[in-house]
């Protein structure tokens, strides 16, 4: 049991060490001559005016909230799906009710236009 999670440690280790090593190597091999124009944010070579604002549309939040809701439901559903066979008709009915509420949420979102990308 303990060993089954050990590879994770190694993989995360490799996943951190290897890219860092590669990037370090590339900084050694490549030139390093930054100048003010080069380090400007990319905007077709023209000086960016106005300074980049970190604004984006509010509907991205809407997507994020929908995702949060559904993903939490999914995390809730997965353990049930694993044990589905042993839960019997009670588990079946309970989860159907749960799914029905979930569908209700989706219908509500849909009808209220939260899924439109206007």
């Amino acid at each position: 049991m303990g060993y089954s999670y050990a590879p994770l440690l190694f993989v995360v280790g490799f996943a951190l060490v290897i890219p860092v090593a590669f990037v370090l190597l590339s900084t050694r091999l490549g030139p390093r001559r930054p100048n003010p124009v080069k380090t400007e944010p990319y905007e077709s070579g023209i000086v960016p005016i106005p300074a980049p604002e970190r604004k984006f549309q509010v509907r991205f939040y809407l997507v994020a909230v929908s995702f949060l809701l559904f993903d939490v439901e999914i995390v809730f559903l997965f353990p049930w799906a694993v044990r589905f066979r042993s839960l019997g008709w009670f588990g079946f009915g309970a989860m159907l009710i749960f799914l029905a509420v979930l569908v209700l949420g989706l219908i509500y979102e849909w009808r209220k236009g939260a899924l439109e990308w206007r």
């Binding site: 509420v101 209700l104 219908i107 509500y108 849909w110 009808r111 209220k112």
Partner: protein
């Protein structure tokens, strides 16, 4: 008892959850109808109104069914307890919800925001209150707290285009989220210290002499969460702004239902924790909270010009009176005081709902008549509603023959019997101060000439709410020991029985 992780949910458990289920399923149905209706305007209030009525009937039926039942019906593996106490609070909540739904009908139509999801949120919040006031376990308590709070945050900001409404929602949400977080942290600390999330086990065992400071800190944080919802000093800062900014119908709902649920839950927590679960320090703390809450609420209400704001501060003051009962109970364990608090809750809910109903009725097209000076001359212009408002103000001030008087009488008498004379003296002085600002309303109503014409559309629905609240306040004041129709015993007997049922 079955394991709380895999509780059996059978028919008996479902029956004990009945009012809660009615609210939640009703809310879902309203939501569904709203989603399917699209842009059509349906009579939302009349779609939603049956839900609190059914919940009220369910609670009344269960109240008859559970009296004297041992063991008490539970659900979710003992996390949710059905007893006369919880059902009594549920009745108050259902009454307040019903009034809020009816008032919202008048209010939202006028403000042109007549939307179905508003009513669904009201019902969800009421469901959360049922859960909150009947939970004996930290996690379900927290669940109830969130379910009751989140819809109210949304409702207070329901007028998106009104700055005050948005400000109210933002303030309430941020502070509320913070207090919920504290509550959760408190629960976590208590659990860490005692290894149980069951209130009885955790608090009773946790405060034995030599218990870890973890539990004490956790208990205080839990108390913070409760005090925030009851709007007790020093956690009252949000109240005036939120009560003023929120849609008036929502304010009425908050003042009546949220307060009832919060006091119900706090009282239950104190009872369940038992005498050993409430350390002397906490009882002393509650004493100070009661004194400060009364005094701050009353003194701040003196200078208010806006009637919603005045009622907000008055609600803080009334939280202080009820806190007197809880403080004495925490110190002595005298259940008589809890019965008084329960009695007070009903009376307070009725007079507040009535007062807000009149405010809504006279508020005008754009809610422009909210100053106390706007009431000038209304006593002659709209005599019936004015008489009712006067009655509510008299009741709020605690003058006989009203429910407000009897509530205070029961509370103060109980406290004196237990020997808390200084506390009662402070409370009586506070009541005397409060007479000033309540009577300012009466003075405006009857002794000032009308400064400008005030037009308002009469409304049968609001009128019915006002009439019923006035009747309730009078009955509670004149016949507190008398018969409550359909109930086997008097109201005072009922609350005593309810309090005795809590274990």
């Amino acid at each position: 008892m079955t394991s709380p992780l895999f509780p059996r949910i059978d028919a008996a458990a479902m029956a004990s959850l009945l009012p809660f289920l009615v609210f939640v399923v009703g809310g879902l149905l309203v939501l569904l109808v709203d989603a399917l209706a699209g842009k059509r305007r349906l009579p939302w209030a009349w779609i939603a109104a049956p839900v609190p009525v059914v919940a009220l009937l369910a609670a009344a039926v269960r109240l008859g069914a559970v009296s004297g039942l041992t063991p008490r019906p539970t659900a979710f593996g003992g996390q949710f307890v059905e007893d006369a106490f919880g059902l009594y609070v549920t009745v108050v909540i259902a009454l307040a919800t019903l009034s809020a739904v009816v008032l919202s009908d008048v209010f939202l139509r006028r403000m042109d925001r007549y939307r179905g999801d508003y009513f669904a949120l009201l019902l969800f919040s009421a469901g959360g209150m049922c859960l909150f006031s009947s939970s004996t376990e930290l996690l379900s308590l927290f669940l109830g707290l969130e379910l009751l709070s989140i819809p109210v945050y949304i409702l207070s900001g329901f007028f998106r285009r009104s700055l005050e409404s948005v400000e109210a929602a933002m303030k309430y949400f941020l502070l509320g989220a913070f207090s919920s977080a504290l509550f959760l942290l408190g629960g976590a600390l208590v659990y860490a210290g005692t290894g149980s999330t069951d209130l009885a086990v955790a608090l009773r065992g946790g405060f034995q002499p030599g218990a870890s400071g973890l539990v004490l800190a956790g208990g205080l944080l839990l108390l913070t969460g409760f005090l925030f919802k009851t709007a007790a000093v020093p956690f009252h800062m949000w109240t005036p702004d939120v009560y003023e900014g929120a849609p008036t119908a929502v304010t009425a709902f908050m003042a009546a239902a949220v307060k009832a649920a919060a006091f119900g839950a706090l009282a239950r927590a104190l009872v369940v924790a038992g005498p050993s679960g409430v350390p002397t320090a906490a009882a002393g703390f509650l004493w100070w909270v009661a004194v400060l809450t009364m005094t701050v609420g009353n003194l701040a209400a003196l200078g208010q010009q806006n009637i919603k704001r005045m009622l907000a501060y008055s609600s803080i003051a009334h939280a202080g009176y009820m806190m007197v009962g809880l403080a004495v109970f925490a110190a002595t364990g005298a259940r008589e005081l809890l019965a008084a608090v329960l009695f007070y809750l009903l009376g307070y809910a009725l007079m507040n709902l009535g007062a807000f109903a009149v405010v809504i009725l006279w508020g005008g097209e754009k809610e422009e008549h909210l100053e106390i000076s706007d009431l000038a001359g209304m006593g002659w212009k709209s005599p019936t509603a004015a008489v009712a408002l006067a009655l509510f103000m008299i009741s709020l001030a605690g003058i006989p023959p009203t429910g407000g008087f009897f509530g205070k009488y029961l509370l103060f008498r109980g406290a004196v019997t237990q020997g808390f004379v200084p506390l009662v003296v402070i409370a009586v002085l506070n009541s005397a101060v409060s007479v000033y600002y309540y009577f300012r309303v009466l003075v405006a109503l009857y002794m000032r000439p009308a400064t400008r014409p005030m037009e308002y559309a009469p409304s049968v629905a609001a009128g019915a709410v006002i009439a019923l609240c006035a009747l309730g306040v009078l009955v509670l004041g004149i016949l507190p020991d008398g018969l409550v129709p359909g109930m086997p015993s008097s109201l005072i007997g009922l609350v005593r029985e309810a309090v005795a049922a809590v274990r």
